[in-house]
């Protein structure tokens, strides 16, 4: 499934919910289902400090694709982190760099990516793109 097909799928999933509490319950559930973050990766290098919540992001690059492991101390943030991992993990640097992430807006979570919200999510997306750029140039050099 392409990134855009996956974005459409997530929008469809969210379309079934009647109200906000159901959406949040779904996000909380996804947050809980996110694979446990490797404790050895819980280091300052991989921490994205937000004022409201904190996010950890650990990348690895194998066979041309990037795998992201991530976590947050807040459950709803972790749910959104899980969505981002679902969309962007296991992709090539070019796929990640060429993506416009419109699903967040479409499922009504846009305010979570506002620079004033400071929950670590906007910085997380930027960081995912930076890792993609770094792996891409590393791959091109070797």
């Amino acid at each position: 499934m392409t990134i855009d097909e996956l974005q459409d799928q997530i929008i469809e999933e969210f379309a079934q919910f009647g109200d906000w509490m159901e959406r949040y319950e779904y996000l909380i559930e996804m947050g809980r289902e996110l694979p446990p973050f490797e404790e050895t990766h819980r280091r300052p290098d991989f921490l994205i400090e937000g004022c409201q919540s904190r996010v950890w992001l650990y990348p690895s690059f194998n066979d041309g694709v990037i795998t992201f492991e991530a976590d947050s101390d807040a459950l709803i943030t972790r749910g959104i982190v899980a969505l981002l991992v679902r969309v962007l993990s296991g992709r090539t640097p070019d796929e990640i760099l060429g993506t416009d992430l419109w699903f967040i807006d479409r499922i009504g979570l846009k305010e979570n990516l506002s620079p004033t919200r400071s929950n670590g999510l906007l910085a997380m997306i930027k960081q995912m793109r930076l890792y993609a750029l770094a792996y891409k140039s590393k791959a091109e050099q070797s």
Binding site: Y24, E25, I28, S53, R54, A74, I76
Partner: protein, 408 residues
């Protein structure tokens, strides 16, 4: 003592309280961050711009005279509101932060040197920490911090022992923005004055809950913001004792703060103008005065009484939720409740409450050292105003219970 008007009439004065958010009636419990504005303030400012706008203290024309007179009347309103001895001791600034920075810079320039000490408390807002740290860095002086108990009560014994021959100023908050504790500022001032040390009291969270009398407190500086006392934002107050203010150099140069300017030498204007360089926020000052008049009209003791009743309801209601931890249980506190339940994260709870129409503050509330003291990354703060209702407090308690269930 009852409020001078019914709660329905009072709520009708605040148009924003009638709006809905996310399709739910707004329950505004973030009054510690900023308060809503009554029509009396909105209309005063609207009318000012429509009928009396001109620059203050500048022109000889009618409009300028009119607005200058109202600006000075606003100063008198502030003076009376905090019972300052003299009108010229009331200086208009942008906000509490600007007032503290002004003192830290100006007082610091004149009175603080290398090896000197400044005392603050462990429950300060960043606004009453960072300006003093900056002063310490400039001057090579040292910051000392008064500790406090788990309940949120300052350790006055530690404070007394902290005062030394090198202490130059004490800067403490009147009321903690997180814990709600009302600090014994009169006692703190008396102790400092025994050693000839001036005291700044941060009144940002103190001035809006009942009466404040700076003459009775005896403090040398008292600072607060207009927007936290039902007035507009961008206007603040620095009250300072004449003797000190006269000794202190201006911290900003410009128009209106000068008596005579030549390229060789400038002499400064008298108080309060020496500290009001440039065109001031006169509309803000006049709007703030309207807010203070509004509170006086309601009855300030009655405002405090109503808020105490709502605080008691909120504290009792929240305490029925499993795993509830309330931060700040001092015997003497204002209508602020900071809390966490179980293992839930404040940000999650805040997001869920928001969708229910309930506005609370989550995070560190600009008091990171305080959060560290409790070993938490932040908490949820409901800050209550007199215009809140018993039903709104009930909505908060139910909302927190629901959020706790969802996240537990």
């Amino acid at each position: 003592m009852p409020l001078s008007r019914s709660i329905e009439a009072i709520r009708a004065d605040f148009p924003i309280l009638a709006i809905t958010v996310h399709g739910k009636p707004l329950v505004y419990l973030d009054n510690g961050a900023t308060t809503q504005k009554p029509l009396q303030v909105i209309q005063t400012m609207d009318e000012l711009y429509r009928t009396a706008n001109a620059n203050v203290h500048r022109g000889v024309h009618c409009l300028s005279d009119m607005v200058s007179e109202r600006y000075e009347a606003a100063r008198e309103t502030v003076r009376a509101f905090i019972n300052a001895p003299r009108r010229e001791e009331v200086i208009f600034t942008a906000n509490t932060t600007a007032s503290i920075n002004a003192v830290a810079f100006s007082f610091g320039e004149r009175f603080v040197g290398e090896g000197d000490e400044i005392i603050i408390s462990g429950m300060e807002h960043h606004a009453n920490i960072v300006p003093w740290q900056m002063l310490c860095e400039r001057k090579g002086s040292k910051l000392k911090v008064i500790p406090f108990s788990d309940e949120g009560v300052l350790d006055l014994e530690a404070y007394r022992n902290m005062i030394s021959g090198r202490t130059r100023i004490v800067a403490v908050t009147h009321v903690s923005n997180v814990l709600g504790t009302v600090n014994p500022v009169k006692e703190i001032v008396a102790e400092a004055h025994r050693h000839g040390i001036p005291v700044l009291v941060d009144g940002a969270q103190g001035v809006q809950h009942g009466t404040v009398d700076v003459t009775d407190i005896g403090c040398d500086f008292y600072v607060f913001s207009g927007h936290k006392v039902y007035g507009p934002n961008g206007i603040g107050v620095l009250y300072g004792r004449t003797e000190l203010l006269n000794e202190m150099p201006p911290y900003q140069g410009g128009g209106d703060m000068v008596a005579n300017v030549t390229f060789e030498k400038t002499t400064y204007n008298e108080l309060p103008f020496k500290f009001e360089a440039g065109t001031t926020n006169f509309t803000g000052a006049i709007g703030m005065a309207a807010a203070l008049d509004y509170l006086t009209g309601l009855g300030r003791e009655a405002v405090a009484e109503r808020e105490q009743a709502l605080l008691a309801q909120a504290t009792a209601g929240l305490s029925t939720i499993d795993g509830m931890r309330i931060y700040g249980t001092a015997p003497h506190k204002v209508s602020v409740v900071s809390f966490l339940t179980g293992k839930i994260h404040q940000y999650d709870a805040g997001m869920i409450l928001d969708k229910m129409g309930i506005a609370v503050r989550t995070g560190t509330h600009c008091a990171q050292p305080l959060m560290e003291r409790y070993g938490i990354s932040g908490n949820i703060r409901a800050s209550i105003a007199f215009y809140n209702t018993e039903e709104e407090i009930e909505a908060l308690v139910n909302g927190v219970r629901k959020a706790t269930e969802m996240l537990g």
